[in-house]
Symmetry: C2
Subunit: 614 residues, 2 copies
Amino acid sequence: MFRNFKRFLIGKPLKTLDEGGQSLSKTKALALLSSDALSSVAYGTESITMALLAAGAVALWLQIPIALLVLVLLGAIVLSYRQIIHAYPSGGGAYAVASENWGPKAGLIAGGSLLVDYMLTVAVSASAAADAIIAAVPALLPFTVALSILIVVVLTGMNLRGLRESANFLMFPVYFFVVVLTAMIVYGIFQAITGQIPYHAVAKVGTSFSGLSLILFMRAFSSGSSSLTGVEAISNAVPNFKVPKERHAASTLAMMAFILAIFFAGITFLSYWYGIVPNKQSTVLSQIAAMTFHGYNIGFYVIQMATALILAVAANTGFSAFPMLALNLAKDKYMPHLYMDRGDRLGYSNGIVSLALGAVVLLVIFHGSTDALIPLYAVGVFVPFTLSQSGMIVHWYRTKPKNWIFKAIINFVGAAISAVLVITMFSLRLNHVWPYLIIMPLLLGMLLKIKGHYTSIARQLRIQYINSDKAVRHHYDGATVIVLVSNITKVTTGAIDYAQSIGDYVVAMHVSFDVNPKKEIKTATQFKQDFPEVRFIDIHSSYRSIIKPSMGFVDAIVKQANKRNHSVTVLVPQFVPKKPWQNILHNQNSLRLRAAFAAREDISVATYYYHLTE
Amino acid sequence: MFRNFKRFLIGKPLKTLDEGGQSLSKTKALALLSSDALSSVAYGTESITMALLAAGAVALWLQIPIALLVLVLLGAIVLSYRQIIHAYPSGGGAYAVASENWGPKAGLIAGGSLLVDYMLTVAVSASAAADAIIAAVPALLPFTVALSILIVVVLTGMNLRGLRESANFLMFPVYFFVVVLTAMIVYGIFQAITGQIPYHAVAKVGTSFSGLSLILFMRAFSSGSSSLTGVEAISNAVPNFKVPKERHAASTLAMMAFILAIFFAGITFLSYWYGIVPNKQSTVLSQIAAMTFHGYNIGFYVIQMATALILAVAANTGFSAFPMLALNLAKDKYMPHLYMDRGDRLGYSNGIVSLALGAVVLLVIFHGSTDALIPLYAVGVFVPFTLSQSGMIVHWYRTKPKNWIFKAIINFVGAAISAVLVITMFSLRLNHVWPYLIIMPLLLGMLLKIKGHYTSIARQLRIQYINSDKAVRHHYDGATVIVLVSNITKVTTGAIDYAQSIGDYVVAMHVSFDVNPKKEIKTATQFKQDFPEVRFIDIHSSYRSIIKPSMGFVDAIVKQANKRNHSVTVLVPQFVPKKPWQNILHNQNSLRLRAAFAAREDISVATYYYHLTE
């Protein structure tokens, strides 16, 4: 039943060798990995404008120089990540680069930041998409959080079905957004140039005003940089590309950066030209759409719909990137091995499910408030950016390829701008980013603890050798088997027969609590008659637990067995009903006993299963 | 951690022999078992009055003859149950009596009705208590259902701590209610006789009116009979009494009936004398209190508080009766054995928890609406009343003791009135009692299915004998052991050593899925070097499941073993981390494999535990 249901939801299992077929072409990869970055233009220009408004509408002309600086940062980051893709084709992005060049601790900071960040990506994008849907269908307003969670659940399902199918499904919204946004920007600029929409800027570039300061500028710049979140997704997912993986990944990244730059520049220009001031009712993007298409007509609604769709898809970026990062951390033993297990459809199911749970928790805690999450999200991105790009400088210095100084300068520019952004965030927006300072130490502590555990286990389990080639072994002279007996049935017969096949000394143990001893005497008599060759021990318990008294007896037997150099097995006879629901009709004692004996040294626990046929 | 928390909530475990100390004295039993019956006077007279009001205020004088008839019914039921207590001292009440005299099916109908009824008792009383608390503190109104559930949870906790402690705790509210209600009735009647409160009856006894009909009379009578729910609790709980159990139980029942009769008669008389007409804002009981104490003063509030308290305690009756009934049904194999397991504090924990869950579900479904539940509740009580009292007639006819005809007549009166009530309910109030006709067949079907399962299991497990004294056995010539191997570590060494101690033929099985075969070759080489005497089989799986390919191989080994007359054991090596949380860091493959092999015949599954020390 459960299996069929799972098959219906997830699809048939795939063979491991089918994996090649799951690899991504450039067109699919662009859809799957760029939606996060591209969709951020929906709020990038707006965040700059909002930050500048603090100094009055006269400051709005600053959006032009800030946008140019963001584009420089984008250029530096993209060039830097192209270099990373070629230098580290096995994926891992900031985590791999920082680990190798700055050491494991720095790598962990980068990796840990990104783990949390991918959850934020999913939460922020899903809630923004829900907001966009609600803007179109206001009746859904009371269900904001529920709608966000529904988007996360649907994406989880699609990702459990496998990467390629998700990509097919997601290609449409991304390319639809690219097409309609391009159309809007081109049509808007055409109308601006031909004078059909006259120049309306609130303040001309260069107008001086009283509140102009470095703090204002940096606040606005740090807000605008939120458009650059998601750029690292491609470098993390290099192993998912078709061969030649690095070349395909690098050109996909270039393509994405090109589109992002045009969108960001175009929207900022139109916002400046139209003199748009954001308000609570409508976003900058929706105002631009209304101006460009001259009203709330079909053009306006198409833009709104495309925005909503790509935001939903953007949430998917986390689903591609998180499991890969978790896999890399698990390979390095910083995360549980279970993040290395693939599901039936070759996706890393545990990573997908963990991410979804994290995102849902964030949505519930923050009630889907995008504003509160974005600064945290930006810090989580720019800390790893700084670490990986500065790490690349170390990389070039160590390997010294042709033109290494030029390459190092590119990375230096990226690292410097990223570092300045991080410092700006912590000094100017501490009221939003303080949770980072609490979450990160906890997360790093956990990752290090897991690593320590795995290392300690590996050391403890290493085989010892005599003369460096003969493993230390122990030869037993026999086996003692303790059979647990409750009532005397066919299960008992089968268990005793089996025990005699594996054991040299077999003893039966019976635990009783009835105050009335008649039943016990009857059981003992019947046992002795049916199994005259087996020693029968009746243990009386004054409590209703069978575990404590059993343990005491087993201890005595273990001592005896050690003297004889016997191994000790506790055999639990158990019958298996025909239908699983029938299990609740029977005492769960054997389960409890197995758990108790697992905690004891020197004892192996065996189960004799008697299968009922009716 | 969990154990300490449980100990804090529930208390230290008690020895089975401590059970005697948990027995009830008459004073405690009255508190523990009578609150349901006594508290029903809070709504008994009111239900009669409400039903009569349908024919206008002039019909209200009928409450006097109806109350007299209810008292006759009470007398008949109590006399009948006293006879039952002496005839069936092991408890079980209606279930035991109906089973023995009418056969198991009738017993099941009685038992099944009562199972559901106890859940209704808890739900109805808890919600009525919540209503009473809210009447005093109107600010709690939005939390009606939550408050009812809280009462159920608190009672559950107290019952898990053990019967005696609950009784100590519950004695105060019951005796408090008895004292203040007696005081109110005496003071009210004194004022009526002395003329301090003049005769105000709406209509004199005997006034004729147009709407007078049998239907009206029967509706009002069936409503009034809801005061009699809870009377059977004492006869079900006979084994909980101090010895001599029957005598103590019978006199407790008589005491309870005496108090109930006085309360019911007194309240109905005062209601008639004062000419009280119930309305939505105040209950009949609260109006009587206000009249008797001349206003909303301390006397009024004490009565209200006492009512609220005893209703909360009344919910506890179900907690005493349900687990005992479930125990009796489980002994007869109609319910799962787990209802026979006692908790640490000697209460039947599973029964207590099941009852609480059922009551909470009812509270949530019916939003704590007492009105909707009471008719259902009454049917659930009077069906078993009818069955047990008519059963007693059969009992007297069979055993023919002294005065048996007189005894049979007492039971006949009770049975007849109960049967008329059941018929009235189904014919006049089907709109309220229809769920009974759906729930009962489902419940009976379930109970019979469970019985069938246990009977079938017992038959299948019965040992077969040759010549009626020698059990059929099977002698194996040896044991084949299959050891599952993943990486080669100390766990492998220990497992192979152990396997050789129990097996005559040991084979190692390794499952690989890596596309890259290098790792497999390395594992195979190391194994062959360390364990040259053991056959090593590498199974390659193209899926990521290790279960399917393992099964195929194990099938082949089983076939071979059958030829050699060997038993087959699959040995799963597993290491046990020092701290339980560390288990999530390791593959859960061994758990999955154990479950898969449990489904196979001819295979026993053993686990070799390697205990980590760090």
